[in-house]
């Protein structure tokens, strides 16, 4: 270990020159690049954050839209169901009333036909009964009865007289 102060001076000079040169030709560009990268990364992170926010917003919107669409579909189905059942009820009601009407008409027709038939029958029966009666009378009024009848008539006449 020998003290040579000239070496110390050389060291100082060499180190200071090295410091100045490195600062100018190496560190300044390096630091500026690192600064730029930092900014780039920060910018990208901000972008990413914004994108994430937008994406979540979009997702929220989509969810809401989906919900609305689902609700609409449900409403439509519900409406269709009620309309359908209403129509069915109406149809059934109409069919019932129609059938009732038809039944009543039929009953009425039957009634009137019956009445007509009865009326026709009655007129025929009276004619026929007269015919039958005249026939029976023709047949049964023989001598004996004729005599009896005459007798009767006479008697009556006599009595009256």
């Amino acid at each position: 270990m020998k003290i040579e102060w000239t070496s110390t001076v050389f060291t100082l000079v060499a180190f200071i020159i090295l410091y100045v040169l490195l600062n100018k030709y190496a560190f300044k560009p390096l630091f500026s690049i690192m600064e730029k990268r930092k900014e780039l990364v920060l910018g990208q992170m901000q972008d990413a954050e914004e994108n994430r926010k937008q994406a979540s917003q979009l997702l929220e919107d989509q969810k809401a839209a989906l919900q609305a669409a689902r609700k609409d579909a449900y409403d439509i189905i519900e409406q269709a169901k009620t309309t359908g059942s209403k129509q069915a009820d109406e149809l059934i009601a109409t069919a019932k009333s129609e059938s009732n009407r038809l039944k009543e008409e039929a009953v009425r027709d039957i009634e009137s036909e019956k009445n007509k038939a009865v009326a026709a029958l009655r007129s025929q029966v009276s004619g026929m009964s007269v015919m039958i009666a005249s026939k029976i009378i023709e047949k049964q009024i023989d001598e004996k009865s004729q005599e009896q009848l005459v007798a009767e008539y006479l008697k009556e006449v006599g009595d009256k007289a």
Binding site: E4, S7, F10, L18, Y19, L22, M34
Partner: protein, 267 residues
Amino acid sequence: MHEAPIIKLGGFNIDISIVTMLIVTCVVVFILARLAVRNLSVENPGKLQNFMEWAVEFVQGMISSTMDFKKGKVFVSLGMTLMMFILVGNLLGLPFGIVTEYSEPGHKIFGQEITTVNAAAFEAIHEKKPDVEHPHIGVAWWKSPTADVNVTMGLAFLIFCIVHFLGMTRNTKAYFKSYIEPFPVFFPIKFIEVFSNLLTHGMRLYGNIFAGEVLISVLLGAGVFGIPGLIIWQGFSIFVGCIQAFVFTMLTMVYISHAVEDHSAEH
């Protein structure tokens, strides 16, 4: 132990090996840094650029662990230069060494006699060990610049100046107050502490690297049997070199933080 190749030039003792190694270290560091920033790119950094950015972030971490990073931002370049300079300096002496052996005085370089190999030096050896017939003097031309106490103390002195200049200009009141805190009685201790910090700052680095080189030369002297130890010690020396570069830079940041941060607010 090897001598340093010192010549006298205009009345000054100049250590050629230190000058050479300082230049080599500076050139290596500069080339490394230039290679790293050759194709700078924001989005697609190369391998060296990545490594350099990692180093910068490492130094930034060191600074922000000791002081407010807004105040310490300007010291990133200083920390990077220190780290790279010391690391490269520490590692330069590991792979090989250049040693010349002289058995007689009167060798010259750049037209100047090497003062550590002059007649007086041989006489001194002869006086110490009279039984050696042909004394040799080994001169080391290639070694770690940080294995020289003048270099490490130079660096420590630079940091010392920076720290105390910052303390006096940025934090004047707190700086001078710190010498007499908590009681004026402590002034001698505080004063000694300042210089012991300077001394330990430089000596720690020197001692570690110098010891490493000494052990390497000892192991080299052991010949074939030294090879396993040499392999292990070279590996360990790389580790020590990294650690010492880190420690020196870290201590620098700690001292600077003491100087620039206002500690009176904590009391």
